[in-house]
Structures are given as structure tokens and as C-alpha cells.
């Protein structure tokens, strides 16, 4: 049997590759829809009290085997000049909370005073998330006016945007007073990461579809007409957008064990599939079928950003190469996936390699889906520093994990041109120019490479047999990165092995990586630090969810795409 190793962290944990990751079976949205279908979750709309101006609230409840969860949505009439996706916005088209259970009228009344305020409001331990969304002004108006005038909206216009509303923040885990993750982490439905947030967005998509129909009905009624019902296939083709800035980048650096567990699960899955000795005809057929469907996503993936345009053009060239490879390759030979992967690594762009690496997991749910159980993290055990470690061992660890950083010239301005900081304006995370703006004294510890190299140099005159505890007593300034180094020693995929403050850093690489683990597609950078995506595009709506459609919805149906 061929022994395939997990991919080397020095290969995987580079920003350019992390910024090319694609969704997979282990993505958090797909983990959620598979579970809800398998367990036969039941869904209902229990309130829709929205007036003719589009203001009011609605409640959507999901009933699982043991517990129910309700999305409480508040719809607002937002003046255009206030519509901003940034953290510093203070009003939105719609605001939401995922409630633990079924809310009473008192709960809804209390939350109506707080959820619309977002960060300026307070919630309690019965609320699991707080989020908000803005309309895609173009598509919203097009859909409302088309339906109100008795027509279906244009499929081309829908494809060009992909969503009616985009969320601009989904806060969970204790934010604004909500329940800590620790309060719910022992519930099976929330064991995998970000299931609260993914459920909230899934129900939000249902609400948004109802709201756009409601607004079309009202507009039609004003002229004594009846609006058209939005076609179910068109509705399903739309997801929920998401507009994401720099907040996600520090998240990956601030949760190294969690990040390790996500990447390690996917890497173990890739390893397991590469070790498959013989693929059955069914496995091969499913792979090829989903590959064809996946090509639709790539074909309709738009971006105006030069970086992504280049990556997309490489990916489209890769699609041609993969297609011709599969014409001549024999997938019924031994270890077909390892051969495919090794060919991809030699031949394709990073986008293409990660696309194939994710896609070849698809026929092997029985082999890889359980790996999602290792994706959560409890940091308690890894937070404490092992003070008895010798300086010699620490030195060796640093030299192994942070080779690239130790070899970097940190005196060169271009290698530390940027600094991460938090603005006092609603605590918005930002990235500034160290040598041009007065921000360095506010710098966040988000440059582990630079800090690890500094630690390595500070150890130079310490003897190998000295202990870490004695070093830290003299040098508390190295405590943060020393803790990281020890974590990475146990969790090799915990660290981004790249420069996060150079003049060439692209924060969108970090955002893309996190969003790919969520299950997002069609990444559309707006700048080097801002990205829009689509979530749940093509997914069955809650009332349509079955075990037959719970898994592969992320790949557009070919018949539908042609129609």
C-alpha cells in the first residue's frame, strides 16, 4: 500500500495557497445542511409582521431532534446614504438574531430595542448570534419591480449579482452579551465550528426571499395589480451575499488551534483520499459529474479585481488542462487520486490545485465526513506555556517552524511596511502603513513571523539547558509569540508561514481561506483587504431540504444552468 503523507505545513500554510482554497465536503455550511437533512429538521415561519414600507419583524423556527432555534428578523427602511457594509455603519436594511428556542412576545419586544442597534445594543444568553444585512440595491429593485409588474426577474441579472442581501457581520460566541460558545458547544448540532452562524444565514436567506415577494406584492397592490410569484428555481439560484473586511484576518491568527484543526481535517481528508487504492466506477462517475457541475461555478464567477481576474484566468486554463488529463488518465488504475493530485501539483495554478484537492474528496463522504468532528477547538489545554521546556528545544522548534521568518531581513522597511491596528471607531480592525501613519504604538500582535524571529535572536546568548520559565521572567515581551511557537509545535497547521506585515501582503488571502472553510464560493475582492462572496447559492430552501439535495447543492445543476 502506498503511504501518502499529509501535505507539509510549509507548503500548505503560505498565504498564496491559503488564499486559493476552495470549499469542500468539510465546509461548515455543508456540514449543517447534511445534518439537518439526516435528522429530519422541521422548519416554519411563525411570524411575518412587516408593513407596506417594509418595516417590521418576522420569525423563522428550525426544529431539531432535541431543540428549536428561531431567527428573529427585523426589517428596516434604510436611507441610501446610510448604506455601508463596513463595521462603522450604524444602520442596516435588516438585522437579525438567532434565538435559542422559541421567543415569546416579550423576547421579541426586548430584542426589537436592541438588535436593530447591533453593537450599540445588548443581548443575553438566550441569543446565539447577532447579524445584519444590506440589500444589493441593483438586484433588489430589479426583482421587486419585475415581480410587481407581473414578470419574472432576469436570470442574467440574478447571476450577475447572486444575492438579494449581503450580511455585513455575523457575530456569535458571546459578542454583545450573547451566549458563549462554551454554553452550547456540547450540543451535537453545534459541535462543528460556526454552525450557529451558518444556521442563522441559512434562515436569513429564506426571510429575504419572503421579504422581496412581500415588497413586490405591496407595490403591485398599489396599482390594483397582483404580483408574480418568484420562480422557485430563480429563487434557489440566489444565495446570501457576505461582505467581509479585515476582521476575519486577525481571527485566524488569534485562534491558532482552531485554525489548525480546520486545516488539519481537510489535509487528513486529502491524505485519506490519495491513499485510496482503487476507485469504483461509481466514485469515478460521481467525481466527473461534480467536476462538470463545478465548471459552471468557475464559468460564472465574476470579479473586477485585477488579482482575482488573473487567478480566474489561470483557473479557467486549469479547467482545460484537467479536462484533457481526464480524457487520457485511467482513474481505474491503482491510486488514481494520488496520481491526479501529484499531476495537479506539478501542472496547475494554486487555484487549480486546491480546486482539485477539494473536489476529489466528494465521492468519499464515508471516509472523510467524520473528520469534521475534529474541527472544533477547546483552547484551555494549549494556552498554558510549558515552562520546563529547554531553551535548546525552543530554539530547535523556532528554527523548524519559522525558518522563513528567521531568514527574513526585518530591518528592511518593505518587510514590515504594514501594521495591524484597531480604530476607536466602533473598534474597526484596520491595516496601516507603519512608516506613513502614526499607528505603530497601537499595533496588534499579528506579525508572528517578525516576533518569532525576534525571539530567536533574543535566545542567542542563552544556554541550551536553561528553561523557558526563567527566560520569560526576564522577557515578558516574548511571552505571546513563545506561546504560539509551543502551540505550533503541537499543531503544525496553526501558523500562517508567511509575512503578514510586508508591503505585498494581501489580507484577502486570509479572508478567502476562512470563507472557503465556511463553504463560500465566487470570491470577489473589492480591494486587497475587502471581499464579497456568496453563501448558500443553489442550496435547497429549508422547506425543500432532503437527504438527496443536502450535500451537492453547491455545484449548480447542469440542466438548470442550461435552461
Amino acid at each position: 500500500m502506498t503511504k501518502v503523507s499529509c501535505r507539509d505545513p510549509n507548503l500548505v500554510m503560505r498565504l498564496a495557497r491559503l488564499g486559493s482554497i476552495h470549499q469542500s465536503r468539510l465546509s461548515f455550511m455543508r456540514i449543517l445542511t447534511r445534518r439537518m437533512a439526516r435528522e429530519g429538521w422541521r422548519f416554519e415561519q411563525t411570524a411575518f409582521e412587516i408593513d407596506a414600507s417594509g418595516v417590521g419583524h418576522a420569525v423563522y423556527t428550525a426544529h431539531g431532534p432535541d431543540r428549536s432555534y428561531s431567527l428573529i428578523a427585523f426589517a428596516h427602511d434604510l436611507p441610501a446614504e446610510k448604506r455601508s457594509d463596513r463595521v462603522i455603519a450604524e444602520a442596516w436594511d435588516a438585522t437579525f438574531t438567532l434565538f435559542d428556542g422559541i421567543p415569546t412576545l416579550d423576547d421579541i419586544s426586548r430584542l426589537s430595542q436592541n438588535i436593530p442597534l447591533q453593537e450599540a445594543g445588548r443581548v443575553s444568553g438566550t441569543e446565539l448570534s447577532v447579524s445584519r444585512a444590506n440589500r444589493s440595491v441593483r438586484l433588489w429593485e430589479h426583482v421587486v419591480s419585475a415581480l410587481a409588474s407581473g414578470k419574472q426577474p432576469s436570470a442574467d441579472q440574478i447571476d450577475a449579482v447572486g444575492y438579494l442581501m449581503r450580511t455585513t457581520a455575523v457575530y456569535g460566541s458571546g459578542k454583545l452579551g450573547a451566549a458563549d460558545r462554551e454554553m452550547i458547544a456540547d450540543r451535537p448540532e453545534f459541535h462543528a465550528p460556526f454552525q450557529v452562524e451558518m444556521l442563522s444565514v441559512y434562515l436569513t436567506r429564506w426571510f429575504v426571499t419572503d421579504l422581496v415577494q412581500h415588497m413586490a406584492n405591496i407595490r403591485a397592490a398599489e396599482t390594483g395589480a397582483t404580483a408574480e410569484q418568484l420562480d422557485a428555481d430563480l429563487a434557489r439560484s440566489m444565495g446570501i451575499g457576505n461582505s467581509t473586511g479585515l476582521g476575519m484576518a486577525p481571527f485566524l491568527l488569534n485562534h491558532p488551534v482552531l485554525f489548525n484543526n480546520w486545516v488539519a481535517a481537510r489535509e487528513q481528508a486529502i491524505q485519506a483520499v490519495r491513499q485510496v487504492e482503487w476507485a469504483t466506477d461509481e466514485d469515478i462517475a460521481l467525481f466527473k459529474h461534480l467536476l462538470d457541475r463545478s465548471k459552471q461555478t468557475i464559468a460564472t464567477w465574476h470579479s473586477e479585481h485585477p488579482i482575482q481576474i488573473d487567478k480566474l484566468s489561470a483557473l479557467r486554463a486549469d479547467v482545460v488542462l484537467v479536462t484533457s488529463y481526464l480524457v487520457q488518465a485511467d482513474l481505474s488504475a491503482s491510486h488514481p487520486w494520488d496520481a491526479l493530485y501529484r499531476w495537479a501539483e506539478e501542472t496547475l495554478s494554486l487555484e487549480g490545485q486546491e480546486w482539485i484537492a477539494s473536489l476529489m474528496l466528494e465521492p468519499y463522504g464515508a471516509l472523510v465526513d467524520d473528520m469534521s468532528s475534529g474541527m472544533a477547538a477547546d483552547n484551555t489545554a494549549t494556552f498554558r506555556i510549558a515552562g520546563a521546556m529547554s531553551i535548546g528545544d525552543l530554539r530547535a522548534l523556532l528554527a523548524d517552524v519559522y525558518t522563513w521568518a528567521i531568514e527574513t531581513n526585518w530591518a528592511a522597511p518593505e518587510n514590515k511596511a504594514r501594521a495591524w491596528y484597531v480604530s476607536e471607531e466602533k473598534l474597526e480592525p484596520r491595516l496601516g502603513e507603519r512608516f506613513e501613519e502614526p499607528i505603530e504604538e497601537y499595533e496588534q500582535p499579528l506579525a508572528p513571523g517578525r516576533d518569532a524571529a525576534a525571539l530567536f535572536n533574543a535566545l542567542a546568548h542563552w544556554p541550551d539547558e536553561a528553561q523557558v520559565s526563567d527566560f520569560l521572567l526576564r522577557h515578558p515581551e516574548h511571552r505571546h509569540v513563545l506561546r504560539r511557537a509551543q502551540i505550533v509545535g503541537r499543531a503544525p497547521y496553526a501558523e500562517i508561514r508567511d509575512n503578514t506585515i510586508s508591503d505585498r501582503v494581501l489580507p484577502i488571502d486570509m479572508l478567502r481561506c476562512k470563507l472557503a472553510f465556511f463553504g463560500a464560493t465566487k470570491f470577489d475582492p473589492r480591494s486587497d483587504r475587502w471581499v464579497r462572496i456568496c453563501m448558500y447559492g443553489n442550496a435547497p430552501f429549508p422547506l425543500e431540504l432532503t437527504q438527496d439535495n443536502a450535500d451537492f447543492w453547491v455545484y449548480p445543476d447542469q440542466e438548470e444552468a442550461k435552461a
Binding site: 443575553s124 496601516g432 502603513e433 515578558p476 475587502w530
Partner: protein, 216 residues
Amino acid sequence: MSHSLNEIEAMSKRAGRGAGLSWGLAEEAAKGTRWLSAFGFPGTELLADLLELNDRIPPIDVSPVSLSAEVWHAPARRMSPLIAGASLSDCAVRLLDRGTITMENVSLPLLAVPFMGGAALRLGVPVAVEWVGARLATDGKQLCVQASPEALEARQAQKLVFSAPADMSGRREPVLRADVSEESWDRLAAFAHRTFAPATEESRLRGAGAGLSDND
């Protein structure tokens, strides 16, 4: 007001940093304050007291002179419970070898208690601490408290003795929610504010890399 433990941890970390602690020690302060809050102690008040007491002073002045000394003491004759506590956690193995670690003149001794939890988890045996009027023991998950309210609120402990392994009796389970006084929250927020860059038009336009309006 009821706060989540994550809020307490995030606020404490920023406040610790704002008061001049290194990031690594600010993280210790944050975990410790969260831990105390989870056991119903006024963690945020204690932390605010300590940060005001030691605001921006060099850490070396309130750190143990040596970890191999018979009794840990600080040059300033006033030892930070965060720095000494973090060192205690770092010295978990040494604590078990020696049986006890004694510290002198520790400010706000309750703030040193959470670090026993880390040591206990690392060692797999309970760790206890005693000072006049108080004995606390933990296995990292549960806490036993035998102490007078005055002792728990002590401004300084002349002598603090940590020991391992220790006996556990009268266990207390952590809670997952904490009541925080507004007053202590505001005091921590004042320290935290020092870590935020002032709002400027340039920062607003450049720093986030996105437009201010999204009417598309």
C-alpha cells in the same frame, strides 16, 4: 449587567495591554479574569484595581527576582499577582518537585489563583494556595474555597503558599455567565481605550480598504 465570559476576556486583554502589560501577559490577565468571573468572583474589579496600582510601571520591578529562590519576592517589595501567577504556571513541574512555592508581598492575591488552574491541568493533580484567612484549591475544572470575604478581598498577602498535590473538598462548579459591575467595566474600558488608534479621516478611508457607501 450580565456579560458573556468572552466579553470579559476580550475587555481584560485590551485593558491589560493598555496598562502597559506585554501582549503575552495581557492574555494571562484576560484568561485569569475570565476564570475568576466564571466562579462568581469580581474579576473585573480586581483587575481594574491592579492595573491602576501598577499602571505603566516596568514589569521587572514587580516580578519575582528569581524562580529558584526559596521565597519568591519582587525588588519593589510588591509583587504582581499576574506576573508571579504566570511564572507559577510556567513552573508547574517545579512546583510538584518542590511541593510548595512561597511568595512574599503579593498584591491582590485572588488574581494569582487562576494560574493554579493552569498548573493543575498541566500536572494532572490539584493545586492549593493559602494566605491568612484563605485556602483555595483547584484541579483546573472545579474550585474549593475556604476563606473569609475579607481575605478574598485582601489588598496584599504577606505570604502566599502554593502546594501540589492538594486535597479538594467542597467543590464549586464554574458558571457560564458573569455579573459585572458597570463601574469596573468602565475602569477597564478606560485602559482598553489606550490601545485604539484615534479616529482620523485618513485612517477611515485607507485602513479598511473599502468604500463608505455600498449602494450597488
